[in-house]
């Protein structure tokens, strides 16, 4: 498989890229920092990825760079089977409420810039005749909840966008996989008290890879979240106002 990943230098992206590497896939890494990309590329080669693992600097916040970066990745690989987007910004609700600049940055990164990147990837895949676009959204986007109102709002928008893509382009060969992880223990969440059902990056990565291979439109990771969110979505408002979850 020929895979392009945005955000594979850390956290769940790193874990997912290592799973791809272990089965010998060809990989191109996109990310902000060229040095970090090179270090991760060596790591993936060490884990068994077809050498050389390509690197193309691409900042998610630099919208003009999206298209050229994907084109450069396609040049390296010949054709792209899968584009994976794990890059995102995370911040806790309290910090976002207090700091409007941080909030603006998060909303722009996780909603506007991510969707713009996905649009560039979608176009490329459709020109090729199809492929898989796998994007990390979050269970936070499934319902407005007190601890993740603002982060969840961005992710809700992203999830809706991905659902629409699936509806419109599935017939043309575009497979859209929306990954909805719960709380993941990464360096971005270090120091926070892990809520129930917290998972490790490797668990989420395994679930995501299964979803990519099968073309599952929505993947809860770990899978328990499907049932948790089913309950949460069906709770009446008066209950949601009371609980802290």
């Amino acid at each position: 498989m020929n895979v392009v990943i945005l955000g594979a230098t850390s956290g769940t992206g790193r874990a997912l890229a290592r799973l791809l590497a272990a089965r010998g896939d060809r990989i191109v890494l996109l990310g902000r920092n060229a040095d970090e990309l090179r270090r991760s590329a060596s790591d993936l080669e060490g884990h068994g990825a077809a050498a050389p693992v390509g690197v193309v600097p691409c900042n998610l916040n630099d919208r003009a760079a999206h298209g050229p970066a994907i084109a450069a990745a396609a040049d390296v690989l010949g054709s792209i089977d899968v584009v994976i987007v794990t890059a995102a910004l995370f911040a806790v609700q309290d910090d976002l409420e207090r700091d409007p600049a941080l909030l603006a940055r998060l909303l722009e990164t996780d909603f506007v810039d991510t969707i713009l990147f996905c649009e560039a990837a979608r176009k490329r895949l459709l020109i090729q005749g199809g492929g898989t676009l796998c994007v990390f959204s979050s269970v936070a986007g499934d319902r407005g909840r007190k601890p993740v109102i603002l982060y969840g709002a961005a992710k809700a928008g992203l999830s809706y966008y991905l659902e629409g893509l699936d509806h419109k382009f599935r017939r043309q060969g575009l497979t859209v996989v929306c990954i909805k992880p719960g709380f993941i223990r990464t360096s971005a969440t270090a120091g926070l008290k892990p809520p129930p059902f917290a998972a490790d990056p490797a668990d989420v990565a395994r679930a995501a890879l299964r979803g990519i291979d099968r073309g599952t439109p929505v993947v809860y990771a770990p899978p328990i979240w499907r049932w948790v969110m089913l309950v949460i979505r069906s709770l009446p408002r008066f209950a949601m106002r009371r609980i802290g979850f």
């Binding site: 068994g48 360096s187 270090a190 120091g191």
Partner: protein, 447 residues
């Protein structure tokens, strides 16, 4: 990204002592280490070596910085970030026919930890410690400068860092030469030995023929049987012994599901377990192929086995006693241990080769013994004092990676190299920023 750092209860593998402190986990060690007082890895040091000296100190946990940065299959030279675990390293490189030249008894350790403790293994008598195979370290000094060192580059800093328990600077990257192996199997021979003396003789005899040797001894058996045990010898299987294409089935560790109550491990059942382990082995020696994981890491099959000791925690006392023309001082040591009321669940004996270059490297030519025992308040402290006095009298020393109790004056009496080590520390960390609970206890750092 802002890291919300909360006070956590931190402890080593022995669950004693427990201290409050802050731990930072980052994929970016260069950034993380610039503001911390100590680094830690997978926290397999038993005592207080990886614990913050005060609640305001921050420890950088390196486990997320675990990338392979370079591997050259022509030479076997590997460079990786310090948080790379031996488990991951083995998982990706053993199938390509490469293994670390020296491995401790668990693969739940990081490369950085292996350097900081200068770990040794069953092949110490031929391969020395891990640090002898390290070519380069990338370090961040206490003042935030990044530099490389190795046996031929800033050798003073390098050899102080090898075995230096993370006190000379933060280890960011490690470059080490791996060893080629033909097949992921070990050809092993085990034999039952009836006494401590026979064990010592057996280890010595086996050292000439086998690259890997270790003994397990029963320190709970009465009088004459005290010190009986099982002697294990091994070497990597060659193509002639094992079809190299067949890898052992991957194993999944069983996790000890909860912390056992303190009474779960009492002397009587420890005694029973030890006797059963001894008697289960037939009188005749056994030989054959065993999977590498089973040979090197028998305890890793039981994840979080430290919970068996309960909330009180436990300590491992490991010392090495030099050979003496008057016969091995080990018999006297074991007798003293039993006389002082010590009860060790698991006792591991190993003969060591020459002393390494690391300024605080543990092994010296002689015999090393590791004893596990539950913490029992001041009694444990007194027991360790008595054992240390014996070790000093016989020219031996203890292993800092295991220690939680040794007094500063005892440690200095054991190790003539301490001043040289402290000189290097003072040179690279004049303000004394880098410290641990252990360095406060042993080297008198301010707390």
């Amino acid at each position: 990204m802002s890291h919300v750092e909360v006070l956590e209860q931190l402890a080593g593998w022995g669950c004693f002592p427990v201290v409050s402190g802050r731990e930072l986990q980052s994929e970016d060690l260069r950034k993380a280490c610039s503001r911390v007082n100590l680094c830690c890895g997978l926290r397999r040091s038993y005592g207080d070596a990886a614990l913050p000296a005060s609640p305001t100190d921050i420890v950088s946990n390196t486990v997320r910085a675990d990338r392979v940065l370079r591997f050259d299959p022509a030479t076997g030279v590997l460079r990786a970030e310090a948080g790379l675990s031996l488990r991951r390293l083995n998982a990706i490189l053993l199938k390509q026919g490469w293994f670390v030249p020296v491995t401790p008894g668990t693969q739940n350790v990081t490369l950085g930890g292996m350097v900081a403790a200068d770990v040794h293994g069953k092949n110490h008598h031929v391969a020395g410690c891990f640090g002898e195979h390290v070519r380069r370290l990338v370090m961040m000094t206490a003042e935030g400068a990044i530099l490389e060192c190795g046996p031929d580059l800033e050798p003073q800093l390098f050899w102080a860092t090898v075995g230096g328990m993370g006190l000379t600077g933060h280890i960011l990257e490690v470059e080490v030469t791996l060893e080629r192996v033909e097949a992921p199997w070990i050809y092993q021979e085990t034999e039952r030995v009836e006494s401590l003396e026979a064990m010592l003789a057996g280890l010595q005899a086996a050292a000439a023929e086998w690259p890997m040797t270790v003994g397990w001894i029963d320190c709970l058996a009465g009088a004459e049987s005290l010190g009986r045990g099982i002697l294990m010898k091994g070497r990597w299987a060659t193509g002639a012994d094992a079809p190299p294409a067949i890898a052992p089935l991957p194993t999944r560790p069983t996790r000890v599901p909860f912390v056992f109550p303190n009474f779960a491990l009492a002397t009587w059942n420890m005694r029973l377990f030890n006797s059963a382990y001894y008697l289960r082995h037939p009188e005749a020696s056994r030989r054959g192929l065993v999977a590498w994981e089973k040979f090197f890491y028998p305890l890793d099959g039981l994840d979080l086995w430290n919970r068996v000791y309960g909330r009180r925690g436990f300590t491992q006392y490991q010392c090495v006693l030099p050979h003496s023309p008057a016969g091995s001082p080990m018999r006297g040591f074991v007798d003293l241990f039993v006389r002082e009321g010590g009860t060790s669940f698991l006792s591991v004996i190993k003969d060591c080769g020459p002393e390494g270059h690391g300024l605080l490297s543990f092994p010296l030519p002689g015999v090393s013994l590791a004893l596990d025992f539950p913490i029992d308040g001041d009694r444990t402290r007194r027991l360790v004092d008595r054992l240390n006095e014996y070790v000093i009298a016989h020219g031996g020393r203890i292993y800092l990676a295991k220690d939680a109790f040794t007094r500063a004056e005892h440690f200095r009496a054991m190790d003539r190299r301490v001043e040289a080590f402290l000189d290097v520390r003072r040179k690279w960390d004049p303000d004394g920023r880098i410290r641990s609970v252990q360095s406060v206890r042993i080297f008198g750092d301010s707390a």
